[in-house]
């Protein structure tokens, strides 16, 4: 049951060897070996993470915080150890600033619904970008609707990057919140968040960063980034489903109202009133996803052993190769920067004449798992001029063989649909 002892892996990472750590990669799909290229949606889990779940349930399962017995203590230690680990992983922040949520979506909603709802008015503006995921868009639409605040958007240019020249015209003292994704889940664009944050702070705005796509793929130092609040999901970085993180500066989290009420998050309750516990517990009402949080620790270990720099370098290699090969194929339109600079490994494209659904179904029969649709970014797709696109997204266990499989399946698809 126990996984192999941690190995130190040399940079550049050896994806072929790492694959062995991921049991699911050995499976077949419709009679073909699985080629998993849907990593921006969710990633696969190394045996170590799966074992950690099993270990938790076979050794320490108990409710946290409230118990004096040994199991309760072990469960609490496991849960809180991950909080310490996350605090280190994102650049060495205070453990009290790390709040566990279900995922990025819950974290961003917490920020929007339970903080900005109380601090914004009709004279205020919220600045987003045109490439936001619904999770960093719809909560703000709702906040804008109930507070009367105005939403404004930093546009993207024809290279699928933020048009930074436009920032000056948009940023002034009326902007209270700048909410921006660190890396686009559709375009792969890595945004210059620290620039944006600096300029936002100059006008007194707070900076909320959707790091769902960057935390898994880039070294993340929330302080260096200049962020005030950051959200990401464990399941997109080798961890279990149902676990996410909201990091926020202590002072800001302190001002936010709790979003749920129940056990753990209260200090004192009578039949007439209640007072809230300290950070981070005031945001963690009820029994959390204890096993998931405990196992997330193993995912962070794994990422750290490989090194986030090495992971990013590997992905740059993948994306460079994929961009070249797709260009060679012809008849393919790429949505996103067409070079590897400031670019992650989410790669959306259109094969002229084949609808993304039909393409995705075809690729599936070749064992190749990609995503087809709007990837929870409908407005961006309207801007791109298509209702849907196909997205391949790579991670540390993908190899250039996977790029080959993708490209030859695309070639076959073109022939099959007689394009």
């Amino acid at each position: 049951m126990s996984s192999a002892a941690p190995q130190t892996i040399e940079t550049p990472l050896d994806a072929r060897r790492l694959r062995g750590d991921f049991p699911i990669l050995a499976r077949e799909v419709r009679g073909r070996p699985l080629v998993y290229l849907d990593n921006a949606a969710t990633t696969q889990k190394p045996a170590r993470v799966i074992d950690a779940l099993q270990h938790y349930y076979t050794h320490s399962n108990s409710n946290v915080h409230r118990g004096i017995h040994t199991l309760a203590d072990e469960a609490t230690q496991a849960y809180e150890a991950t909080r310490d680990h996350v605090a280190r992983f994102i650049g060495g922040v205070k453990r009290e600033e790390v709040v566990f949520t279900r995922g990025t979506t819950e974290a961003l909603n917490l920020v929007a619904n339970h903080w900005m709802l109380h601090e914004l008015g009709p004279e205020d503006k919220i600045l987003l970008t045109e490439m936001e995921h619904h999770a960093n868009l719809v909560p703000w639409l709702t906040v804008a609707k109930s507070t009367g605040a105005q939403l404004i958007y930093l546009p993207i240019d024809e290279t699928y990057r933020l048009d930074m020249d436009k920032l000056t015209g948009l940023l002034d003292e009326t902007v209270k919140i700048v909410a921006v994704s660190h890396m686009s889940n559709v375009l792969g664009t890595i945004n210059p968040v620290s620039d944006i944050a600096q300029r936002a702070h100059e006008v007194g705005a707070q900076v909320v960063v959707d790091a769902a796509q960057s935390a898994p793929h880039l070294p993340l130092d929330v302080d260096a980034l200049g962020a005030d609040l950051v959200a990401f999901s464990a399941h997109k970085m080798l961890g279990p489903t149902g676990v996410g993180v909201l990091w926020g500066r202590e002072e800001l989290l302190g001002r936010m109202e709790p979003c749920q009420f129940g056990g753990e998050m209260i200090e004192w309750v009578t039949y007439e009133k209640a007072t809230w516990a300290d950070l981070p517990h005031k945001f963690e009402a009820g029994t959390p996803n204890i096993a998931g949080v405990a196992a997330f620790d193993a995912a962070l270990d794994y990422l750290e052993e490989i090194g986030m720099e090495a992971i990013h370098e590997h992905e740059v290699e993948m994306i460079t190769c994929a961009l070249d090969r797709l260009r060679d194929l012809g008849g393919i339109r790429i949505f996103g920067p067409d070079t590897f600079e400031q670019r992650g490994s989410a790669l959306s494209f259109e094969v002229e004449g084949i609808h993304p659904h039909d393409l995705s179904t075809f690729l599936d029969t070749r064992g190749v798992a990609v995503r087809a649709g709007h990837h929870c970014a409908q407005p961006l797709h309207r801007k791109m001029g298509v209702p849907a696109s196909t997205r391949a997204s790579f991670y540390l266990y993908n190899t250039t063989d996977d790029v080959d499989s993708l490209c030859s399946a695309l070639q076959e698809a073109k022939e099959y649909f007689r394009i």
Binding site: R30, G31, R32, H355, P356, H357, D358, T361, F362, T365, R366, A372, G373, H374, Q378, H381, P387, A388, Y416, F417
Partner: protein, 155 residues
């Protein structure tokens, strides 16, 4: 693997996809409805002109994949000229064909409907094949209740 694919993308389907029937404007339609598949972005608009309980004219406008477009096109072909009660029965038969193990009844000719059978091998595509039909049925029901229609979703 191409066997299952070929079942899905039969020549009939690809023909309907490339030259969809019913791509016509229907003026002052009695039944009008729009349907969306939010998770993938497919959209369809169905318009019917009725006369004495019979579908006189059909307009189907699809933005979507081969399966949803072909299914809408087959709908247009099959529904025109039929009494509305009959149209509802056919829609039920399409649902059954796509979501259960039953085959098409042999009581009459169902045009190219047979060609949609291959979708069953690809469960996630069933909603594509259903979109136009569900949109039409909800439009008819709203018409019968004397209401305007909301957009429909298949998910």
């Amino acid at each position: 693997m191409n066997d299952q694919l070929d079942e899905l993308y039969r020549d009939i389907i690809m023909d309907h996809y490339r030259t969809p029937r019913g791509k016509v404007a229907v003026e002052a339609p009695d039944v009008h409805n729009e349907g969306k598949n939010p998770s993938c972005g497919d959209e369809v608009e169905v318009n019917l002109k009725l006369s004495d309980g019979v579908v006189e004219k059909v307009g189907v406008e699809c933005i979507g994949c081969a399966i949803s477009t072909a299914s809408g096109s087959i709908l247009a072909e099959l529904v025109e000229g039929r009494p509305i009660e009959d149209v509802k029965k056919i829609a039920e038969i399409v649902k059954a064909l796509l979501t259960t193990d039953v085959d098409l009844p042999e009581d009459r000719d169902y045009g190219d409907l047979e060609a949609l059978k291959g979708v069953k091998q690809f469960p996630v595509r069933i909603k594509c094949a259903l979109l136009a039909w569900v949109t039409m049925i909800e439009g008819i029901e709203a018409y019968e209740r004397g209401e305007k229609t909301d957009a429909v979703t298949t998910e």
